[in-house]
């Protein structure tokens, strides 16, 4: 399905007005224009391609349903980005819930996770095979959903503390502390993993 060139020339505001006037197809302009960015942030927060795809669809669906309340108060891209962050946060929150308790390897007083001996040596095996990305992913698993999301938005997406607070719906100071804690935890975990290699 190709979106027509005429539609692609519409700006976000015109597309929103057309959608609200009953032209459902005009929403394609917004979907095509913002999906890639939403996927990037969703993937960084969820760390999973399939979950990121779900987040993108869920965010765009929520955005469509709430389009009347948007009313052009701000930029549509910022608004839908915020919705995607919420969806991703919900997603990893649910994932955390299904995993019961996070399994950690280091002794971290701030973490509530269960400390066990990793006999399967997943990290070790991965590290030995030189899969750095997997090592980083393990390090990210030690973060809470809020810390992970705040860190991704700050470190990878380049958002300010205020933008993070707005996107996540938390006070700025909480956002700032979440970023600090995430960096501290990641440093320690990465240091530990490096020593093991």
């Amino acid at each position: 399905m190709r979106v027509s060139n005429v539609r692609m020339n519409m700006d976000d505001h015109a597309a929103i007005q057309a959608v609200l006037a009953g032209d459902k197809e005009a929403y394609a302009v917004l979907v095509v224009g913002h999906s890639a960015r939403l996927f990037r942030v969703a993937f960084r927060i969820t760390g999973n391609e399939a979950d990121a795809e779900d987040v993108v669809q869920e965010a765009l669906l929520r955005g469509y349903r709430k389009l009347e309340s948007f009313a052009s108060r701000s930029d549509f891209g910022t608004w839908i980005y915020r919705i995607a962050v919420h969806c991703a946060l919900d997603k990893i929150g649910c994932s955390k819930g299904t995993e019961s308790v996070p399994i950690t390897e280091t002794t971290d007083q701030q973490q509530d996770g269960l400390q066990i001996a990793d006999q399967a040596a997943g990290p070790e095996r991965l590290l030995l095979s030189g899969e750095i990305g997997a090592m980083q992913e393990i390090a990210m698993h030690g973060l809470t959903p809020t810390e992970r999301t705040a860190f991704v938005l700050r470190h990878l997406e380049g958002c300010t503390t205020e933008e993070i607070a707005t996107a996540m719906g938390i006070p700025p100071n909480t956002a700032k502390q979440s970023v600090f804690r995430a960096v501290q935890k990641l440093r320690r975990r990465l240091a530990t993993l490096k020593v093991k290699t």
Partner: protein, 260 residues
């Protein structure tokens, strides 16, 4: 010298807070400078989770999967029309309700006002106390006596040679005759002897005036004028009429020049 905490160093990497003051400290403190360098190095390695590239048609694929589940918004124009219709109907209903309330309120106020006036105005109260039938009789009697008085005056001053007035006098007499009988019967019923006697004599005069076989000639006119003068009928009618001033005032406005 107080060294920078890890949080402060992280804030320095992100350029938050008092960046200049911390940089000044880092320039002077070798220990903090080393820690800062190590932190920057570690954080530089945290550029992981690079998302996989999406192809150029990713957005269209997302739209293809979404479009089927999106209900179309109703046109705002339709919404405005519907809202306008409801608003119009609401205004109309409010106007009808207001009109009905005003009407009912006015009726209630009027009744209350009449009752209040009747309670506070004794004259009105007295008037209310008089039976309706009596008021009608008084009005009719007053009117009848007025007309009779005018007829008697015209008859008394009529010129025997001016035969032009004869016909109107007879017609008026004929008209008064019926009313006179009713008034006389009522006076007898009410045991008003003076009134009944006067009306009886008036009846006799009216009959003579009406039933002249050859019309109203000079001889007949002279005879009737003599009867009026001799009997003092005109004076008596005036006296009787003067007995009814208050009733007349009370009834004025209800009947004006009515004829039975």
């Amino acid at each position: 010298m107080i060294h920078l905490s890890e949080e402060e160093l992280i804030a320095q990497v992100y350029g938050e807070g008092d960046h200049a003051a911390r940089q000044a400290h880092l320039d002077q403190c070798a220990e903090c400078s080393r820690a800062y360098a190590a932190l920057r190095s570690d954080m530089a390695e945290m550029n992981f989770l690079e998302p996989p590239e999406r192809d150029a048609f990713y957005g269209e694929k997302v739209w293809a999967s979404l479009s089927g589940s999106l209900p179309a918004y109703e046109s705002r124009k339709g919404n405005w029309l519907r809202i306008g219709l409801w608003r119009g109907l609401s205004y109309a209903a409010a106007c009808v309700l207001l009109g009905a309330c005003t009407f009912i309120g006015g009726r209630l106020w009027e009744r209350q006002q009449v009752r209040h006036t009747a309670e506070t105005n004794p004259q009105q109260k007295q008037h209310e106390a008089v039976p309706a039938r009596t008021r009608v009789v008084v009005v009719v009697l007053g009117d009848h006596l007025d007309r009779s008085e005018r007829l008697l005056v015209e008859l008394k001053h009529a010129d025997a040679e001016s035969t032009g007035i004869a016909s109107p006098l007879r017609e008026e007499a004929q008209s008064l005759l019926a009313a006179n009988r009713i008034c006389r019967q009522n006076a007898m019923h009410e045991d008003d002897a003076a009134l009944a006697t006067a009306l009886d004599r008036l009846d006799h005069l009216l009959q003579e005036l009406t039933n002249q076989p050859g019309g109203l000639n000079a001889a007949t006119l002279a005879r009737l004028q003599n009867e009026i003068s001799a009997d003092g009928l005109l004076l008596e009618v005036r006296v009787l009429r003067s007995r009814l001033p208050s009733q007349r005032t009370a009834a004025s406005g209800q009947t004006k020049g009515g004829t039975i």
